[in-house]
Amino acid sequence: MEASPFYLLLAVGTAVMLIMAGSIVVFILFYQRRMLHEKLKQNQMEIDHQEKSLRLVLEGQENERRRIAKDLHDGVQAMMQALRVSVLTVIRDADEKDKKEIQEMVSELTETVRSVSWDLMPSTLEMFGLASALEEFCARLNGKITVPVHFSHQGSPFALANDQQLLVYRITQEAVNNAIKHAKASLIEVRMNWDGGLHVAIADDGVGFDVAASDGSLGLGLSNLESRARLLNADLKFLKNQPKGSVVELFLSN
């Protein structure tokens, strides 16, 4: 055997081995890319499915609230008015003190039913928009609780879909209710700003909270907020307020 053909044989042998080794490496790289792609696709499908389920659950909740609010408004409130007239007729001969007491009880009951109906589905939201609904929500709370709830509003509102408005309203409602229940605050502020997107901040000067260390009930409330923010494609942040308390910040780009 001469040297030249042997060189060729050696070169071919080496090339074959190198091609085989390179193929293994390239195969692994492509295989992993494909696996990752499949996994990402699967994860995305799971997230989409979860979001769809969540949207359906929340839509169901809102529809049920809307139905109950309508029943309360159209049925129970009308019946309350009729009851009021009947009661006034029946107690015409009663003494003034009892008459006044019964009248006050009926009025209070009517107001409670109206308030529950409004809380369930604020008619202002559909009629006058988000800012007015939140302003009315704060105003109503000021009449009911001892902690003052301030509302401020800046910028020119842009159009939001009905379901978006409802989600922002529910997030604000839940955050304010959390502050009332857990923060032990002396002031709660709801600040809305429409410049460069919708910013809503719910700030309190209470004891503050640690998201990671929150107990079950608070955790569930926060998870509700997060689920709704995810459906909105909005950013939701839980921050510390200065000098004390906490801030829940929601940002929705326009």
Binding site: M1, A3, F6, L9, L10, G13, T14, M17, L18, M20, A21, G22, I24, V25, I28, L29, Y31, Q32, M35, L36, K39
Partner: protein
């Protein structure tokens, strides 16, 4: 010795030195397989220095040095694979291959210490190729969810697979080459040395990735 061959020797030595230089920082924080790779770099560098000294002093032990290096290289790389695998089955396979290799090494080396022995080199290449393929199977099984090209180990093992697959045919035909080509062997050996430099540079890339990861971890803490 031709100039090209000399340059090739120095360049592969430079490759080994680069592995050591990149591997020494953060040595204590590194994973065991990476530490073994640094040890591999040190081992190669030391044997290459001895080899150069022997060549220039016209010593007769150059082949002995090469044969001994082949054994240490195989054992260090088998140790590397032993530390890489988590599964006991794969570890046992590596141990079995090490034992068989050592036994066959000494069988083939009887009365041949001063020769350039082909069989021990072929066996070494084959054993390392098998381990590399086992590693890639292992990687497929334990497929990581993040970008695999950021894994130092992937580059190191890929470099090993390509280098030892590339030198396999050369090792296989070494006896024939020595007998037939004589001084022409230096040309082939120079090509092999440059190829080893590329192997070292790819291993260095893996070490650089590991350094980057360690630096990021340190900055986080």
């Amino acid at each position: 010795m031709t100039a090209v061959h000399s340059i090739s020797i120095y360049s592969q030595q430079f490759g080994s030195l680069l592995i050591v230089l990149l591997g020494i920082p953060f040595f204590s924080q590194r994973s065991l397989p990476i530490r073994i790779i640094v040890l591999y770099g040190i081992n190669s560098f030391v044997f290459q220095i001895i080899g150069i000294v022997l060549v220039y002093s016209k010593g007769s032990g150059i082949n002995v040095n090469g044969n001994l290096y082949t054994l240490t290289e195989a054992l260090i790389l088998l140790g590397f694979f032993y530390s890489v695998f988590n599964s006991p089955v794969e570890k046992k396979v590596v141990v079995a291959m090490s034992v068989i290799y050592v036994i066959l090494y000494f069988v083939f080396m009887i009365d041949r210490w001063v020769e350039l022995v082909s069989s021990i080199r072929t066996m070494r290449d084959l054993v390392i190729i098998i381990c590399c393929i086992m590693y890639f199977f292992y990687l497929m099984r334990e497929m990581p969810t993040n970008d695999i090209t950021k894994y130092p180990m992937l580059w190191i093992v890929a470099a090993m697979l390509c280098f030892f697959a590339g030198t396999f045919t050369l090792s296989l035909s070494l006896n024939y080459l020595v007998k037939v080509l004589h001084n022409n062997l230096l040309v082939i050996w120079a090509v092999r040395n440059f190829f080893r430099l590329i192997f070292c540079l790819v291993v260095c890339y893996g070490l650089w990735l590991d350094n980057k990861r360690l630096r990021e971890n340190l900055s986080l803490t």
